[in-house]
Amino acid sequence: MKRVLSGRVAGFDARLCWLFVLTFAAAVATARGEDRWLHVKVDDTDREGEKVRVNVPLSLAEKVLPCIHAHDLEGGKVKIRGDVNGIDLRALVDAIRGAGDNEFVTVEDRHEHVRVAKVGGDLLIKVREDHDRSKVDVKVPFTVVEALLSGGSDELDITAGLRALTAQGDTELVTVNDHSQTVRIWVDSRNTGE
């Protein structure tokens, strides 16, 4: 009886052990599967034909940035240099977030057309130069903007921004197209670029 019981207990322990191992393996696999990658792709079409590709896990950037203490970067936060004309960026972002989808800034002259708008949960910046020969599109989710501005009034919290970006789905952040260069910065769950 005792042997049967101890056999059952041993069997139960083994199953429990396997269950624990499988759960742990699944958790690790899920965690790895959720890794987000920041990709940078630069293609120069001029004579040098330079090509740059960067694929960095956001978790790596998130861990490394707080360890860097150089120039304006301190503990994952970067000091905003230059005059922001006394504008409280956080209050400005709060106001924009509370407002509906809208175009907030439009600047037009003969060569340049700049547009800043809120569409869905994203802040959009579009710059067009020389009759669309040069196009710059920046799309930053509002949660990321808020995270960036969550530090002091004169600093951007890059680590918090990265953390917020990790929580986003696949996101196209920056696209630049001009006559000699194309740049694309985006986040997705693949560890390879295109």
Partner: protein, 143 residues
């Protein structure tokens, strides 16, 4: 008797090699692209590098670390995080003449450079980068 001694010597050499390379190896390959250009291939056991750094006198380290010290925690954190990343290309820069790639393959960080004049391949165990950075970071910081 001589046969036994030889066997023991071979055994000791094999064992030493196995221990030395148990932590992987730093591989450096350089090929000069010119007539009669040299081809150099240097495998250095990671264990030897790790031990070597531990025995470098502090005063020698001081000068070498002056510029590197602020970056050591970042290097340590990066290598720790890299170890758990899937394999793949991390950085690639290519122009008309040069091609540089930094990638992760297995437990190694690889740097491949192909230029007009040379081909260079370097691979380093990521765990070695982490342990060396940690060792340097904890060395006497009075620079």
């Amino acid at each position: 008797m001589i046969r036994r001694i030889l066997l023991v010597m071979v055994g000791v050499a094999l064992f030493t090699g196995l221990v030395a390379y148990s932590e992987g190896a730093v591989m450096v390959y350089v090929h000069e692209k010119k007539p009669e250009g040299h081809r150099i291939w240097v495998p250095v056991p990671a264990l030897l590098v790790d031990l070597g750094v531990r025995f470098v006198p502090e005063e020698r380290l001081r000068d070498a670390l002056r510029d590197l010290r602020p970056w050591l925690p970042a290097i340590e954190a990066a290598s720790h995080e890299l170890e758990r990343c899937p394999d793949g290309l991390l950085v690639e820069v290519k122009d008309r003449t040069d091609h540089v790639m930094v990638s992760k393959g297995g437990e190694m960080l690889r740097v491949d450079v192909d230029s007009e004049t040379d081909t260079v391949h370097v691979s380093v165990p990521i765990s070695l980068i982490e342990s060396v950075a940690a060792r340097l970071d904890t060395s006497d910081g009075s620079v």
